[in-house]
């Protein structure tokens, strides 16, 4: 059966969990406020992404309390591939996570799975993408042997694979929908180990795949006019959202524990509205509506994007062969609402904006709304043409209801 045959509404069509990344407590709260059903985060040990800010035990506890208050869940990554010395303190850590009300741990090591089952049985065990689950037979094996509660699918799965896996999988499935992609099979790359001695499977990945390389055939350089690179564009799956939901994927995961609060708010909000509308529609959206959601999501993306393997084999157009950055994205984030007095709104600024511009408010409580900046007052109540000092406070009039922590951004 091909994908088109499967696109009739399946009996597994339901609203999946939207799972968002958080590098610190502030971003965890932002993700939840902007619509994440669950947030995954790393503690200070046992987690990949050692350069993300990462959470203390107190932070994790506070995140659990905040999540519970908002009907959300917390997942904690324990996804290192451990060496013998890495187990110290793990048992106590797992017990603490269970005590705090963490819903699940994301794990790649059989021995950590076994230990978690033994000492913290209330924690769900989600089998990490580091295990490269590319077929349902592997998922069944992991379920039979460890009783895993969820299989995080490898990024190498295409839509046909995902339909096939979800149809027969005895446990929940989780698929990546947005963010950075390892160009190699996750967990099976030691470029970083070799070039920097930083262990990619213990949180030290130096992303050596994104560096530039000369390519030789024997002693002859092939790359004399264009260096070889392996950097992947970021994953962006709005076009595949209906299929992912129709396939019955239980959780849709955004990558990026090292991304900014603005990124988290924008991407989570974008996918939240897209998922909700597809669910309400009980079917694919019109091209016009899909384009609207794609635009909203891409407000937050500062790298080039591709559909990864969902369309088939990720080939040349999924790779970045040139130096690039979409710096505009960083200029779009203009500030945060920090005070409200009727229509007079105080903004803590991040980037420059001018009187006369049309700007937008991104809020967890509303759809994106635009307004015209008629005037700007500085902290001394003086009228200014341009707000150009970052992290200062200015006042503008906004003709609709806003909330503290709403985001002011440039309209594109």
């Amino acid at each position: 059966m091909d994908i088109m045959d499967r696109r009739q509404l399946s009996n597994r069509f339901h609203k999946p969990e939207l799972l968002a990344p958080a590098g610190d407590l502030k971003r965890a709260k932002t993700a939840i406020l902007y619509g994440a059903d669950a947030v995954y985060l790393g503690g200070q040990f046992f987690s990949l992404r050692s350069r993300a800010s990462n959470f203390t035990l107190e932070d994790i506890q506070e995140a659990c309390v905040f999540a519970k208050e908002h009907g959300a869940r917390i997942h904690v990554t324990c996804n290192i591939i451990p060496h013998n010395e890495d187990f110290e303190g793990l048992e106590e850590y797992l017990k603490k996570l269970e005590e705090f009300g963490v819903t699940a741990i994301i794990v790649a090591s059989p021995s950590i799975m076994k230990l978690a089952r033994k000492v913290a049985p209330k924690l769900e065990v989600h089998c990490s993408t580091q295990m490269s689950i590319t077929n349902v037979e592997t998922a069944i094996f992991m379920h039979d042997v460890f009783g895993i509660d969820r299989a995080v699918l490898a990024r190498e799965c295409n839509m046909e694979d995902i339909y096939g896996i979800t149809e027969k999988c005895p446990v929940e499935t989780e698929a990546f929908i947005h963010g950075g992609m390892c160009v190699n099979y996750s967990g099976r790359c030691t470029l970083s180990n070799r070039m920097t001695l930083r262990d990619a499977n213990r949180g030290g990945c130096a992303q050596s795949c994104r560096w530039a390389y000369h390519l030789y055939d024997g002693k002859n350089e092939i790359s004399d006019d264009a260096l070889f690179t392996m950097g992947s564009k970021d994953l962006f799956t709005a076009d595949y959202m209906y299929d992912l939901m129709n396939a019955g994927v239980s959780s849709l995961k955004i990558e990026g524990r090292m991304k900014t609060e603005y990124y988290v708010a924008t991407i989570v909000s974008g996918y939240r509205h897209l998922i909700d509308e597809i669910y309400e529609n009980q079917g694919p959206l019109s091209q016009e509506r899909l384009d609207y959601h794609k635009k909203q999501i891409l407000y937050g993306e500062n790298r080039e994007v591709c559909s990864g393997f969902y369309a088939g084999n990720a080939n040349a157009d999924s790779l970045i062969y040139h130096e690039t950055s979409n710096a505009d994205v960083n200029h779009d984030f203009l500030g945060t609402v920090v005070g409200i007095d009727g229509t007079h709104v105080t903004i803590e600024t991040r980037n420059k904006f001018n009187t006369g511009e049309t700007l937008e408010i991104l809020s967890p409580y509303n759809t994106v709304r635009q307004f015209h900046v008629d005037s700007i007052l500085n902290a001394k109540n003086e009228v200014i043409e341009t707000a150009n000092q970052p992290m200062t406070r200015v006042q503008i009039d906004i003709p609709f209801e806003v909330h503290e922590k709403d985001i002011l951004r440039r309209s594109r």
């Binding site: 295990m131 590319t134 099979y185 790359c189 390389y213 000369h214």
Partner: protein
């Protein structure tokens, strides 16, 4: 039991392997490997098995790739067919193959070879306790870590010599580069290498039908560690031959055979190091631990 295992890329070398005392050969099965080894068809594997068995040599086949949902079921059947050719072992990376092997009670033929994912005692023992023939200790560990795992887990395999696999991508990265930049070169050539812009090391790069792989810029050697590994009860000592000349393979086999037979090979080792000094011989991670 100490078994000298060597990958085979050229059938014409088999007689040399027999004469030099190789105990087991490893063959790559076509379209089933994350490896730059020459890939053999089922018919060729069958012929090599017959020849090896005549000389009391065993044969292991590599099926060490990951399979998509579409491919796993055919791979499971192919694994069964390969085992029915009379091979003595099969190396796998995808637990989907192990699931099927357990259903068919074939798991005792299997060796788990995930390259990077098994770096502690408990994980290695877990996989071995699935009824496997062996587990391959990754080339990412210090000498002490290798020994710890080998002492803790019976029947382990250590890759003692060769250029070792560093990364595997499902993306055809060489083909993609060739297409985008309109270059003319053979992506399946074993003469390709990558050199990071700031470094001088040349890392072999290779693309087969299922993956693009990058190997270490150095040839791992374990001459000085052999006694320790033997004391730690390692069972399978494997020489991986991709990107090595046939002469270098033969020379290495001769030395490791001597070491396994507990003969003094110090002169031969020095001669080998002198002869192949331009090949970047290295003890890899044995003496340096990666950091987090």
């Amino acid at each position: 039991m100490k078994i000298l295992t060597v990958t085979l890329e050229n059938r014409n070398l088999l007689k040399d392997y027999i004469d030099l005392g190789v105990n087991e050969v490893v063959l790559a099965s076509a379209d089933n490997t994350f490896s730059a080894l020459h890939e053999f068809t089922g018919e060729e594997i069958k012929e090599i098995v017959e020849e090896c068995h005549m000389h009391h040599m065993t044969v292991t086949v590599l099926m060490n790739r990951l399979y998509s949902e579409k491919d796993i079921y055919a791979a499971q059947k192919e694994m069964e067919e390969i085992l029915h050719l009379g091979v003595d072992g099969l190396m796998f990376a995808d637990p989907g193959l192990l699931k099927y092997a357990k259903e068919k009670h074939l798991e005792s033929y299997l060796t788990y070879r995930p390259e990077t994912l098994m770096t502690c005692n408990e994980d290695a023992l877990f996989w071995k306790e699935q009824g496997l023939r062996s587990v391959v200790i990754p080339c990412l560990l210090t000498k002490d870590e290798v020994m710890d795992i080998a002492k803790y887990t019976p029947d382990t395999t250590v890759i003692i010599h060769g250029s070792t696999l560093m990364s595997v991508s499902k993306r055809k990265l060489l083909s993609a580069y060739k297409e985008v930049n309109q270059k003319d070169f053979d992506v399946h050539s074993k003469t390709l290498s990558l050199k990071e812009k700031q470094r001088e090391a040349y890392m072999p790069a290779y693309e087969n039908a299922v993956a693009m792989m990058i190997y270490t810029d150095y040839i791992q050697e374990s001459f000085d560690e052999m006694h320790a590994f033997m004391d730690a009860q390692v069972t399978y000592f494997e020489i991986d031959t991709p990107f090595m000349s046939e002469e270098a393979v033969i020379d290495a086999i001769r030395i490791y055979r001597m070491l396994l037979d507990e003969k003094d090979a110090s002169r031969e080792i020095q001669a080998y190091r002198d002869k192949y000094q331009d090949k970047e011989l290295s003890d890899g991670y044995y003496g340096q631990k990666t950091v987090k």
